[in-house]
């Protein structure tokens, strides 16, 4: 799918510099986008990727440097200006109006009018259906956006961008909340638009996507341009090395951990609220159980039910003791450490500092008769910042200013510190850059080594294959099959996730 024949230069950024008080976010960076080309912008979080894409999209004004479109220098004063010139950005943060209809959102700011100047509702609906069909999304144009799931909302956002006749499309981690099938559809669409001459700038943490569609990658590190390299001529480990500035020998660093006795027994765990059929599975100490499945397969709901986040029925015992279901506090008391997938919405306290975000999970331990020991809190937090490698200037920094990877280390670290018997991690590396991912894999193997049973629910198949001892695959709200490390391959798991069938061993085995 990698296009070999790039067209003329559409957009060029030269010597772009941008400083924020205290730090140089971009230091004289160049970027050249050609028609009919997908350009991957890579680098760790904080490397300046987002800043650069926001400059190109007119959301930020650079301190120095020039932008050229079709060879002519111009200044983009605001995003509307960029959109008028055909530069459209889709970011992971949705920018939809939830109370309006799908159609109104797609054509926001450019609703079709009748001759009298009133909204032409009929044409709006017609155009919206056309825009949605192009993406292969089946949703009524009259549905309210708030009634749609996150994934469909993201697709509405994409439909809006594509219907704006973009010449330059910027995808800023646009796939991070999409399932595999939706991601594939989006990537197909990107390829299709590219072949029609669109220029695409793509920011993603998912390596396979970069290799699937892009033909060139610009690597940033610490706000500086490191290199612009051809894809796929540059191998993945080389690209990662350019991004992090050092070699990551073994990304997953899977260790052999001797499994102990069964510590968590799940019998017919079902959730009426979340809609999952009864699931039974056991996990041993030291074991890492991966849970795979497509979006909507029930894997995320399974994690929520175990963590007490939603009402549930069935029987769960931890170290022989029954857990009261449907109550997070009881789950914690029973030794279950649950980390939700929605970091911003359900895990961090965005307006509070690092210290309080750690301590949120330690209130029982830190307080005596209702009083919190701030001295002990400060000691514990400093130790945890060090132990979990949180990059920060101190514990009083607002958590919302940290990178996704650092936020996630805090969320995982505070849960690990409680030394739970069972860890239930829902998408633990979502929106986390490569360097931090590798550290998170190390963290959760450390926890397994110390005797925890670890359940990792993830939409990223490579990571499940990389770290799990056993994989359970969800399909249509039930646990369809289990595979041991000896028998799982990407092919087998992916097949099961799509069909629910436990296929016979692939014939190619020796």
């Amino acid at each position: 799918m990698n296009s070999p024949s790039p067209g003329p230069v559409v957009l060029e950024a030269r010597n772009i510099s941008k400083s924020f008080p205290g730090v140089k976010a971009l230091d004289s960076v160049d970027l050249t986008l050609r028609a009919g080309e997908v350009h991957a912008l890579t680098g760790e979080n904080g490397s300046g990727k987002s800043t650069l894409s926001r400059v190109v999209a007119g959301l930020l004004q650079p301190d120095a440097g020039q932008l050229f479109i079709d060879g002519k220098e111009l200044v983009l004063s605001d995003p509307a200006d960029a959109i008028r010139r055909g530069i459209v950005m889709i970011s992971q943060e949705l920018t939809l109006a939830p109370t309006l209809s799908v159609a109104e959102n797609i054509f926001m700011g450019r609703l079709p009018r009748t001759r009298l100047g009133a909204i032409d509702w009929r044409r709006l609906e017609h155009d919206a259906i056309a825009a949605l069909d192009r993406l292969g999304v089946h949703v009524s144009p009259n549905a309210r956006v708030s009634e749609l799931g996150l994934e469909l909302q993201q697709e509405v956002e994409i439909a809006r961008a594509l219907s704006a006749d973009a010449r330059v499309l910027i995808l800023d981690e646009a796939t991070s909340s999409l399932s595999e099938s939706a991601t594939r559809r989006l990537l197909d669409l990107v390829v299709q638009e590219r072949d029609k001459g669109m220029s695409v700038l793509m920011i993603t943490h998912r390596m396979p996507e970069i290799y699937a569609v892009s033909s060139v990658s610009t690597v940033l590190r610490d706000g500086k341009l490191i290199s612009t390299v051809p894809i796929p001529a540059t191998p993945e480990d080389k690209l990662v090395e350019l991004m992090v500035g050092r070699e990551i020998e073994d990304y997953y660093a899977k260790r052999h951990i001797e499994a102990g006795e069964t510590v968590v027994e799940i019998e017919n765990l079902a959730s009426h609220d979340a809609g999952i059929a009864p699931v039974s599975i056991n996990v041993k100490r030291g074991e890492i159980l991966g849970i795979a499945g497509l979006a909507g397969s029930g894997k995320s709901e399974f994690a929520q039910a175990l963590g007490g986040a939603v009402g549930a029925t069935g029987r769960v015992t931890v170290a022989g003791r029954a857990v009261v279901l449907g109550n997070p506090a009881r789950a914690i008391a029973a030794g279950i450490g649950y980390v939700p997938d929605d970091r911003k919405g359900a895990a961090i306290l965005p307006v509070r500092n690092i210290s309080e975000n750690f301590a949120l999970a330690w209130m029982d331990r830190l307080s005596r008769r209702g009083f919190v020991s701030l001295r002990q809190q400060s000691r514990d937090v400093n130790a945890a910042i060090r132990d979990y490698g949180v990059a920060t200037s101190g514990p009083d920094v607002l958590i919302s200013t940290l990178s996704g990877g650092n936020q996630q280390k805090i969320v995982l670290g505070r849960t690990f510190e409680r030394a739970p018997e069972v860890l239930v991690l829902n998408e633990p590396t979502r929106g986390v850059d490569v360097g931090a991912k590798s550290e998170i894999y190390r963290m959760l193997q450390d926890a397994a080594e110390q005797g925890a049973a670890v359940i990792v629910v993830s939409s990223e198949l490579p990571e499940i294959l990389g770290i799990a001892d056993r994989i359970g695959v969800f399909f249509e709200s039930r646990l369809a099959a289990e595979f041991d490390r000896a028998e799982f391959t990407e092919e087998v798991i992916a097949h099961c996730a799509v069909t629910g069938d436990r296929r016979a061993r692939p014939p190619k085995q020796e």
Binding site: P21, I332, P340, A359, L360, A361, A383, R386, A391
Partner: protein, 338 residues
């Protein structure tokens, strides 16, 4: 990778002045100082002990309510009914006094009445899960009407009651040069600040205001904490009613709607965010002092009191805007440091 042997990150403690200037209430503090200097230059009588104590006394009802309102706003909700709850509790207090109830018991009765009204709000918000805005807007009129019903629209004059002497000492008396009510306010302030900072209840309030789902998933009983915070708000209304009756010598069923603006304005000017999870009582104290000084300045300079609403409303909008700008600058700066 991190080196395990390294010592915990040590950062220099910023100076007290720098901390103050970066805090959420910096705008209010600077304005308070500037306006005080101007007032002093224009009317030196401003900086005299009796005048300052006058400011304290005339704002103590609002200040007590503002402490409770700070708790509520930190939790991410708002109580619009505390003014009416104060009036209703005042009627209960007045009724107890005219029936010869001893003062301590009558105060207890006012507290209990306020607490029950707060519990009613709290139950509807946290257990019946009705929007706090709807609930407290509703109870704003329910409590007000309840106060009218109690004595068929009439008030209770407590001036001639035997317990009034003690009440008057509490509200208007001095201990040496210091008004007793100032000491009372200071103690309440310290308790409120201590609860917010040092107790798990206080920490739970911030957590719930910042992200209720994160709080719930980490084992905090969100409903119970929200219920409690409304009870606290009701109890501060009970306390405020005692001071109010003492100052007015009468328990009146009229609700002072200005109180609602003054109290919430003090909380917000003090940097406690309407969105929850941020702020504290020190900011509220500064916000309250600021509003009190402005009001006092109008009186001293002979400006028509009709201007007061314009000023305090304008100041409210301006200072919250200033807080937003400051927050934006701070988070940008921090984003780049990490």
């Amino acid at each position: 990778m991190t080196d395990i042997t390294q010592t915990p990150p040590r950062h220099r403690k910023p100076s007290a002045a720098a901390t103050l200037l970066q805090s959420r209430y910096a705008g209010a503090l600077v304005s308070l100082i500037v306006i005080s200097i101007f007032l002093y230059l224009y009317q030196p009588v401003f900086l005299t002990w009796p005048n300052l104590m006058n400011i304290v006394k005339s704002n103590s009802v609002a200040f007590i309510l503002a402490l409770g309102a700070t708790f509520v706003v930190i939790s991410g909700t708002v109580d619009l009914s505390f003014g009416s709850a104060t009036t209703a509790a005042a009627m209960v207090f007045g009724l107890l006094l005219i029936n010869g109830t001893p003062l301590p018991l009558a105060i207890f009765g006012a507290l209990l009445a306020g607490g029950l009204l707060g519990a009613f709000n709290g139950y509807l918000v946290s257990y019946a899960k009705i929007s706090f805005f709807v609930v407290t807007l509703g109870t704003l009129s329910v409590f007000q009407s309840g106060a009218l019903i109690m004595n068929d629209g009439g008030s209770y004059s407590v001036f001639s009651q035997p317990a009034f002497k003690a009440l008057n000492t509490f509200v208007n008396g001095n201990l040496g040069p210091v008004p007793i009510i100032l000491i009372f306010d200071a103690v309440l302030f310290l308790i409120a600040g201590g609860v917010l900072r040092y107790t798990s209840f206080g920490r739970a309030l911030y957590a719930i205001g910042a992200n209720p789902e994160a709080a719930r998933l980490n084992g905090i009983n969100v409903r119970r904490v929200l219920f409690t915070v409304f009870v606290i708000s009701g109890m501060t209304a009970g306390l405020a009613s005692v001071v109010q009756v003492g100052r007015l010598t009468v328990a009146s069923p009229e609700v002072d709607l200005n109180l609602l603006l003054t109290v919430l304005a003090a909380v917000l000017i003090g940097g406690t965010a309407m969105t929850g999870g941020e702020g504290g009582v020190l900011g509220t104290l500064i916000g309250m002092l600021f509003l009190g000084v402005v009001q006092n300045g109008l009186t001293l300079t002979g400006v028509s009191s009709f201007w007061q609403g314009t000023l305090s409303g304008g100041i409210l909008i301006f200072s919250v805007w200033l807080g937003g700008v400051r927050g934006m600058l701070r988070s940008r700066r921090q984003a780049k440091l990490t």
